[in-house]
Every structure is written in C-alpha cells, then in structure tokens.
Subunit: 406 residues, 2 copies
C-alpha cells in the first residue's frame, strides 16, 4: 500500500457521494428481520462485477452478468433468506422481476439494475413479498440507511460488515464504501457470497473491472471458511464519478494505482471480517506464505493451509500440531522443496528446513489462544508472498450446518 | 464383478498361504497398547506399492519406495503412534533401521522389507523401543496373530479393519488378505493412511503393480474423511505364489481379470470401513454419480460431494439440504450441463434437470437417519459412473482433532 487513505468512522455503502440505500422486511427470512436492500446512485454509474465459478450459477448471477454488459448501471437489489439457485426458468424470471421492480422504483431501465440473492438453495422466491419489499426499500432510500442495508443482506452472519475509506486525488476527495456478507459456503473462486462496493471515483469501465478483479484476487479470493464455493458468490462495484477527479482511464497510471490500493484495502478488510465471522468461528486465522516461486504457488499454499479441517480444528483446540500445517502445504499443489520449508506459529519456529524443532509448548498454546492466530511458512524458493485468511473449525460450525434449514 | 469369490470368516492379513504376523507393545503409543506389527512371507514374494502424493513424504514412504525397486520382498513392518514424517535425515536413518531390524528378525536383506508409520508428524521415533518391539514381533510370528497386527496399526480408529477373500483359479485356491487403518487425514491421492494386502497368488511384478493401482483407483482413492492427504499414505501388496496357480503374467488375461476383481472388492470393502470409521463419524455416506462424460468427471463429482463439509454436516443433522449436494457438484471441476442434473437422497428425487422438486420431507429425514446414506446424482452426459465414500462431520470430529496430541 503506497496510498495514504483515511478510514471513515461508521462509513459504509453510502459513504461515497451520490449513493443512497433502502431496506425492507419482506418476510423472505423470518418476519421482523430486514432481508431486502436496494442501493442506488443518484446519477448513472459505471459498473463491474466478479462472480462464482460454480457450474450451478444462481438466477441472480446469470441476470447480473447479462446486465453488466450495459455501459452503466443505477443500482442493485439484494435479498437474503433465499438464494434463488437451482430454480430453473421460473427462478430466472423472478430475478428479472426483481430488476424490473427496482428499476421502476428508481426510474431507470431494468438492465441498469444488478441483482443478488443469498440463502437456501432450490427454493423459489416468495415473489409477491419481494416485490412489496423492493417498493418499500425504494421508498426509504437515504444516506442514513446504509447500515440497514448492510444488516439486510446477512444470513448466518453474527455481525454486519461495512467499511469506507477516502483519499485525495488531484485536489478531489475520492471515497469508496462497501458492505459484504458471509459466512458459510465460503471458499476462493469467489470466496464471499456477496460483496458490494460503491465509489464516487470517475473511472472507465475497463479500469474498474480490472481493479475489481485485482483487488478481489488479494482479498475475497484468499478467504475460506469451508471450501464450499457457493452458487451465488457475487462482488459488485458501482462508480458514479461524483468525486470530480480526472477520469482514471489507464491501468498504468498513478491514479489507477491509488484507486487500486484503496479498493484492495477495503476488500481485504471486509474479507477478513467474513473469515472472522465464519460459521461457528472463534478465531481468525491468517496464513502467510513467503518466498514461493510464483504468486500462484504462494496463493495455493496459503489457501490450502487456511482451508484444512485438521489445521482449523487444531487451532480451535489451541493445539500446536504443526504437522498438519506441513501436511496441508504438501498437498496444496504448490511447487517447492519440502527440505527447505520453515513453519512458524506467530513468531515461534516449529520446523526448520522441513524438520521439527523443540519449541516452547506453553508459548505456542498462548499464541494459539489469541483471537487472531498467524501461521507463517517460509519456502525459500523465490520472491512471491501471499496471505490467506480462514477461521477455526468448531462445534458450532457443525451445529449451525447440521440444522440450517429448520 | 464377474468373479465368484468367497469371504473368509474372520480372515485377515494372514489368510493367504505362507504368511505370518507378529505384534508388540513398543510404547510408541501409550504403554499397554499394541503399536508395532510385522508381516512376513515364508518364501520370497513379489511386492508392489502405491503412495501419497503429498510433497512432504514421510521417511518410511521414501524408504519403501526405494525397496520396491527390488524384484522381491519378504515382509513389512509398521508402527503406529509416530508418523516419522518431517524428521529429516535422522528420520530416514530410523526408517532404514526399522527395515534392518526386521530383516535381522526374518533372516533376509533389509531391502526386502517395506516400512510404514502412522501417528503424529514431526516427532522422532523412540528408536530403542521400536527396535525392541520389532524383535518381539518377529519372535511371535504366527498365522493366528493377523488380528493382533490389524490392532497394532490403528491410531484414532475405533475398530480394526481386516478382510480376506478366496476364489478358484484353474483348480487352485487363490486367497487375498488385507488390513488397513484410517481415520483422519483421509482424502484421495491416496486416501487411506495405511493399507496392506497379502496374497498367495502367483503373479508377475508388473501385473501386481498394475492391479494394485487399478484396485486403488476404485477404492482407497475414492474415500475422504477430511480432504487432508497425509504424508504417510501407503498401500502395499505382497504376492508369494504359494497358491500354485499358473503365473498371472498378462493384464489382458482372464486370470488377471479375476485377480483384479477380488483385489478391488477387498480394497473397496476396507476403504468403506475406513470411511465409516472416519474420525467422529456416525454415518457412512455413499455418493453415486451416474452418466458422466468420462470416468474422471464421475470421480471428480463423486469425491467433491463426499468431501463437502456442508454436505457432511447436513447429513449429521439429517437435514435434506440437497442444495449443498448441487453446490459441491458445481465446483467439483467435472464437466456437465447443470440444467440436466438430477439429485437423489436414497431413491427420493430432490431435483430434476437442475431444478428443485417438492419432496416428502419425512421420508427424506428417515433416509438420512440411517447408518448408511446414499446420495445419487444423474448427469445424463455419457456412460461413466463412479462411487465415492465419506462420513458425516460431527462434534466428535472437532473434539478429536481439537486435542489430538494430548
């Protein structure tokens, strides 16, 4: 990060200029809980998106992909409680209807609306209630309702995830705001179920898409809760140009670099919140891999360790069973020489050059009992580093997922 | 399976002619538990092996690979309680010493002995106790001690896994016996931590290796407990020719086909026992994928579903959340058209042509409460079928692995 930027206290999806949010209780989830959010730009915005690689793509993913072919967008609509996935042609029509209803509320074309859903797979949307909810959300759009929108998109999440940052660009203030939700079916490609970013930066569509992909590869794609890549994963960004900065139109420019820094920071912090709020999690796990041959090797290794059930369970139990780190490193697919690998828990060396060390068990247990546990692997193969995030595997993960629908 | 064969009641690793086993309490595990096994052929045997693909290969794996370059072998030695992995050059010397000690006990060359270890990674073997244990095991070799050997190789397993079958080959009885252990760090490539097969069949080294690889691809490589591919996975087979059948010397022959059928059956049954005895498991999960384009696609799909934490937790909770099956199918990497996929729990259809159906929740819950749960996916893409096995994800898995070393 070379860019100085400021974190906006209590900032979220409506922090950038010209964005409003609305939320409603549409009774898709249990009655009395917010489950529908609309975010709108006051002017036409440039839009970009990144989506799940799962073969089964939910209806809203298919519709949003299509709508992103448009040059611009005006907003997006999100429901929680129902994923609208594996719902066939009727589900596709429902997703289109969500865009139409939102477009009607905002006074734009349906193609200018992106759609996202999260919740149970294979169940049809209660469309009448959703339509009513969209009308209600469009009716209460305001800058103050950003927080309510961040609340409305959650499922098994235990806290809302929102953040905003700003930085100076040629005398203008550029702001980025975001919200996201986890917290199960979380694994790279993409890792988050849903992430949303708004910005008042002026930027071209190509640069925006490239920046989103790049920021995503360091953030949402580097978290894992359970290795399950969802059918609905979506990350959207809307850029409405209201900051008044000179349009960012080249990925080689310094201005692009600053924007990317801010976007990567924002996405990384949200991704870490998702990992920390993984279903049943009590600890955030950060896995740092250093000295890999290539970035791809470093990422494979870091994600493999962060995703290992055995590593996750050992950290839940504060058991310094570093052999499991080595095991997950060894089957990661990364290219390296096992006889050179060093393994650390925090700053405590567990193994050097592929061989176990005598270590201070008490100190290791103390490090493993902290809220955030850092695992480090040094491969001594080349210049590439990567960091991945995950969470521990707990009784509560099993409990939550043994009985999700009821 | 086209071959008729008979399951030998209470048969195990010493069921084939000319094999004996010995076991000892070497105090590698807690004192008073069997933790060392030796299996020996009375005559020189043909040997073959399949090993882990993990980059970190335990010392016994490296030594056994080297010894398998010999034309023949006389037996193998196994300890539980310590994996002798990530132990560097000293660990390698310890594994060689295990072969030397066993060779001394059996009166053969050290290169004629295969070595396997299972247990904690990164801890050195208590070599003096192991040497004493090997001497003791070599001193009590007998046909009756096959069961003791099967006991001695276990770690967190809750029951021993052994089996033997026999069939007729040109007037001679060919017998195959086997033992295996699970039950964590279980995932394809190879899936079992340790599997051992003996047979009195007369067969060439090439045919034996090919049959072992083929049987393994349908059995041990199709089970998963936790997606963690261990550093020690090994499957050995010794064939000592004592059945007196005409030597099986061509993989095209009918005799090879019969041998392969028996070996595949044996390995598949043992693999299912390992899945059923997965750490903390209460249920065996069998995933059948039918109508894939290729065998590789079918296997990818079946293994992905069997390995999904969310599927496993849902089955633990007897929750018919079939969307998770679809999700794991979708990210499996298998090539198929999601709009054609049908999903079943037992014989109850959950989804047809990629779309959810109304189903009998009570019947689904009943099917999910059985000891063995069958999930079926029909892809309608081609002729290839595959079956994978796994187990449910339970509180006890977390408990066992949160506190494995203490």
């Amino acid at each position: 990060m070379k860019t100085d930027f400021t974190i906006i206290a209590d900032g979220g999806i409506t922090a950038p200029q010209g964005f409003k949010a609305g939320a409603a209780q549409a009774a898709v989830k249990k009655a009395g809980r917010y489950d529908l959010a609309v975010v709108a730009s006051e002017v036409s915005a440039i839009a970009a998106g990144v989506f799940t690689t799962n073969k089964f793509q939910a209806a809203p993913v298919l519709v949003s992909r299509r709508h992103l072919q448009q040059e611009s967008a005006w907003g997006f609509v999100v429901n929680s409680g129902c994923a609208n996935a594996c719902t066939g042609e009727p589900g596709l029509q429902d997703a289109v209807k969500m865009a139409q209803d939102t477009a009607q509320g905002l006074g734009c074309k349906p193609e200018a609306i992106l759609v996202a859903s999260t919740g149970v797979i294979g169940v049809p949307l209660p469309l009448e209630r959703v339509t009513a909810g969209i009308a209600a959300a469009c009716g209460n759009l305001s800058r103050e309702h950003g927080e309510l929108a961040a609340q409305a998109i959650l499922t098994t999440d235990t806290f809302k995830k929102e953040l905003a940052v700003k930085y100076e660009e040629e005398g203008k203030t550029v702001t980025l705001g975001a919200m996201a939700k986890g917290s199960g079916m979380i694994h790279p490609d993409m890792a988050t179920m849903l992430g949303f970013v708004t910005t008042d930066a002026a930027i071209t569509k190509d640069c925006l898409q490239q920046a989103l992909c790049e920021a995503n590869s360091y953030s949402f794609n580097m978290i894992t809760v359970d290795r399950d890549t969802s059918t609905n994963d979506s990350l959207f960004i809307l850029a409405n140009g209201q900051a008044g900065n000179p349009v960012i139109d080249s990925a080689e420019s310094a201005a692009y670099g600053r924007f990317l820094d801010a976007l990567t920071y924002l996405c990384t912090e949200l991704a870490k919140l998702i990992a920390k709020d993984g279903e049943g999690a009590t600890k955030l796990i950060e896995v740092r891999v250093q000295g890999a041959k290539t970035l791809q090797d470093a990422r494979l290794a870091a994600r493999s360790i962060a995703a290992s059930n055995l590593v996750k369970a050992a950290i839940f139990g504060a058991d310094a069973n570093w052999g499991r780190i080595v095991c997950a490193l060894g089957y990661s697919g990364a290219d390296f020489d096992p006889a050179l690998a060093d393994v650390y828990i925090g700053d405590l060396a567990m193994a050097q050059n592929g061989q176990g060390l005598n270590f201070d068990e008490e100190k290791a247990a103390r490090l493993l009992k902290e809220d955030a546990v850092v695992l480090k692997v040094v491969l001594k193969q080349g210049p590439a580093d990567a960091t991945a995030w995950g969470c521990d595997l707990t009784y509560d993960y099993v409990k939550i997922n043994g009985d999700y629908r009821t």
